[in-house]
């Protein structure tokens, strides 16, 4: 579908019509914290934001979800699976880095080991991405990992703010369906507009991630990790705000006769994450745990799923880490190390 435009005023109306038919989710602000949550009308949304603190991943793979409830009556056990969604959803305002993260998570939850809860949420959700404002935040480095803040790739519709209108690129049927919903609100672009209404190019510092994986794998025994992990407090915020982290824990809550099985986020930075029943813990100190986190992002994940690096450069982890461990510096330190090609 070719590019259209919509005025800023009409955007609200469009979103309200969507809210009538779908469950509309978008960025809201609460005491200075941006989070993606359901809204009744577009008025509740905010547009002044760089990105949410808790990534939209939480809408597909929530911090806690009930898998099923069980009831034991005598010998017979009744199971009642939880329906992940009551209604189809539209997520407005998702940034491209998070869209990128969803494609990585799709490989985890929808490949050979299919997770029905995640898959249903993904299928019944339409993504309206919102291109990042320029200049991008100084901490962002998504381009390093091949994410183009201005490309609709991965989402259903991309809106780009070009002054008093938004450019609308619907690239999937679901996207087109949504655009069709807002009938009169969209207008095609005139020739002139097509040329001048171009978003300014994104200039963002590029990190050198060539052979990042090979250089990293050479550092397994390096004492670099000892020094890097000194300020780390093992608090797990980095994994809870990371859009690509996907480790979880399962536990049953309830009485011996009836209860609910829950799934919830877990973090490899916790001291007891890898603790085994025998008491053995392959990653006893935070040196191993810090090293493991980066090895998973830049080595294990790509080799396991054949994708790029499992980082989308959203910078949430480095902004919120109380210890100040910064992934960008780690990448720089690793590439500064004598790489394979230099040898």
């Amino acid at each position: 579908m070719d590019r259209k435009k919509i005025s800023k005023a009409d955007l609200g109306r469009w979103l309200d019509t969507i809210a009538g038919k779908y469950e509309l989710i978008g960025p809201t602000e609460d005491e200075g914290i941006i989070q993606f949550g359901p809204v009744q009308s577009s008025a509740e949304l905010t547009l002044e934001y760089a990105n949410s603190l808790i990534p939209p991943k939480s809408l597909f793979f929530p911090p806690v979800e009930s898998l099923f409830a069980f009831r034991k009556r005598g010998e017979e056990i009744q199971l009642e699976e939880t329906k992940p969604l009551q209604q189809d959803r539209v997520i407005f305002g998702i940034r491209n880095c998070d869209v990128g993260s969803l494609s990585l998570l799709d490989r985890v939850f929808c490949d050979d080991l299919e997770d029905s809860y995640y898959r249903e949420r993904r299928e019944r959700t339409t993504l309206i991405a919102l291109a990042c404002p320029t200049p991008p935040r100084s901490s962002c480095f998504c381009t390093t990992f091949g994410i183009d803040p201005l490309s609709p790739a991965g989402s259903d519709i991309l809106l780009t703010d070009v002054g008093d209108v938004y450019l609308v690129d619907a690239v999937t049927d679901k996207g087109e369906e949504l655009v069709a919903l807002g009938e009169g609100l969209f207008a095609p672009l005139t020739e002139g507009e097509e040329k001048e209404l171009q978003p300014p190019p994104v200039d963002m510092p590029q990190l050198d991630v060539r052979e990042l994986r090979e250089r990293l794998e050479a550092l397994w025994e390096d004492e670099y990790w000892e020094k890097l992990s000194l300020p780390c407090l093992g608090c797990g915020i980095c994994t809870y705000v990371c859009p690509t982290c996907h480790c979880f824990d399962i536990s049953d809550v309830g009485s011996t006769s009836d209860g609910v099985r829950y799934r919830c986020w877990d973090s490899c930075m916790y001291s007891d994450f890898a603790l085994m029943v025998s008491g053995e813990n392959p990653r006893p100190t935070k040196r191993e745990r810090t090293r493991n986190r980066y090895f998973h992002k830049f080595s294990t994940f790509p080799s396991r799923y054949g994708t790029g690096y499992a980082c989308v450069g959203c910078a949430r982890c480095l902004v919120h880490c109380p210890g100040g461990v910064e992934i960008t510096e780690v990448i720089k330190d690793i590439s500064a190390k004598e790489g394979v090609s230099d040898r």
Binding site: G32, V64, K227, G236, Y240, C321
Partner: protein, 319 residues
Amino acid sequence: MEDKLQELVVELLGDGAMEYFIGYRQGFEPSHVVPCFVTDKSEADRLIWGPLCLQNLSKYVLQARDLDGKVGLLVKGCDARAIVELVKQHQIERDKIVVVGVPCEGQVDPRKMEQVLGVSMEQVTDVEDAGDEFLVKVGGEVSKLGKEQVLRDKCFYCKHPTSFDYDYTLGEVQPFTIDSESEEYDAVEKLEELPLEERRAYWLKQFERCIRCNACREVCYGCYCKECIFDRTDPRWLDRTPLPRENEIYHLIRAVHLAGRCIDCGECERVCPVNIPLGRLYKKLQKDIAELFDYEAGMEYDTVPPLVDFELDDQDPFL
């Protein structure tokens, strides 16, 4: 001030007085200050000091327990209370730490500054202390901000342990005083005056938001147990799943453990990714402990923590 600090660290590292020094350095953007571990003289120049050095570095000394040498630490007045408690609770000997006291004139609460400036901290390139104002440089030009607008809550009633024994000081360390009409326990009293159901709803909303990332526990100096009671599976005090009920158990039990330990350093509230006002919960405890047992954590070495002590004439409403 910063060069005095850097010289001192270089000197101390030089004559082997300590294995490494813990201070602050600038992070990925000017307004983002992070802890800095200086192991070698050459890195001393990265050390900075200013109103944005927010972290309480005291917990890091616990890593140096099994070092044979000492560990240096830059200590604000409020952080010094953590050192007093850690020594009092046998976690580390006082002479294991080289304490460098820094005269702190009050710290900035980034969120308050963002609200006042109307611009994200990203644009702020420098904040300097100037008596009862801060000089804030945003995109080149400098503006003056009255301290009481952007000060961290705890700084309004700075309780610096008068008797603290710094090994070195970068200038006379005095409790920072600012006249403001807000009293220490205002926020707590405001909540206390709410009717019961509203208070219940208020805290329920907070406990529902919690995702149990444990950041408040890991960042807290007082939570140094080798194996936390919440990580035990035998018995399982609470479930890993962040349900409102389990979260409530987590926060109330942690509050009880911190009763008499919490020194109001404000870190738990600062790092909480879902913005739970934990400070108010722990402030309530401090208020009760001060009123009921006339005790303040981290002020003297020789006092006995309140919940493991008693007076014969303690208040007794239970007759």
